[in-house]
Symmetry: C2
Subunit: 109 residues, 2 copies
């Protein structure tokens, strides 16, 4: 079994692009209540890319864990993120079927 | 897809026994870093059962989500929990192979 990490510690885990540049951090996880499978990592790309403080839900299966960097790698660049679904820190959406479908479609899933 | 819940909101989700009595709450989740699957719910049974403030890791597949109660049900009673693996709030173990095997064995998995 792979290593486990506390949900309390996931907040702040680094996220990198394929080139190894740090994009930001994971702010929160959206978890399937029944199966316990993480469905979305909610990312904060803040200052580094100039994308502000919005939160970006990214489907979990787009993330790859890199043990060498002790963080996650996503195959995304700034241009892809500029049009991506996002919300303000105090405006978390319901993550209902419609919202999840829209997020998945944006990423081609 | 079932409803999702924020990892930040999981803290405090109620846990019930099969009879519907509230046992305590989920304090934290231990998540497989690679797959994103929750492996253990870390529970706090505190005052209700007189079990103190220790944390109890319980294998995720022992939990059933009950939409009516908006919480999780575990098939455990006080006598089973009295001998269960636990740790103090400030003494989180490494959750290495040995530790996880011990927890799983305690619950017969």
């Amino acid at each position: 079994m792979a290593d486990v990490i506390s949900s309390e510690r996931v907040e702040g885990t680094n996220v990198y692009n394929a080139a190894g540049d740090k994009l930001g951090t994971i702010d929160d996880l959206m978890i399937d209540k029944v199966s316990g499978q993480v469905r979305y990592a909610v990312m904060e790309f803040g200052g580094f890319l100039g994308l502000g403080t919005d939160r970006y839900p990214v489907p979990w299966n787009m993330l790859k864990y890199d043990t060498a960097q002790d963080g996650y790698v996503v195959p995304l660049d700034k241009s892809q993120l500029e049009g991506a679904p996002r919300y303000g820190y105090e405006e978390v959406p319901d993550y209902d079927d419609t919202y999840r479908t829209n997020v998945d479609k944006y990423y081609g899933l």
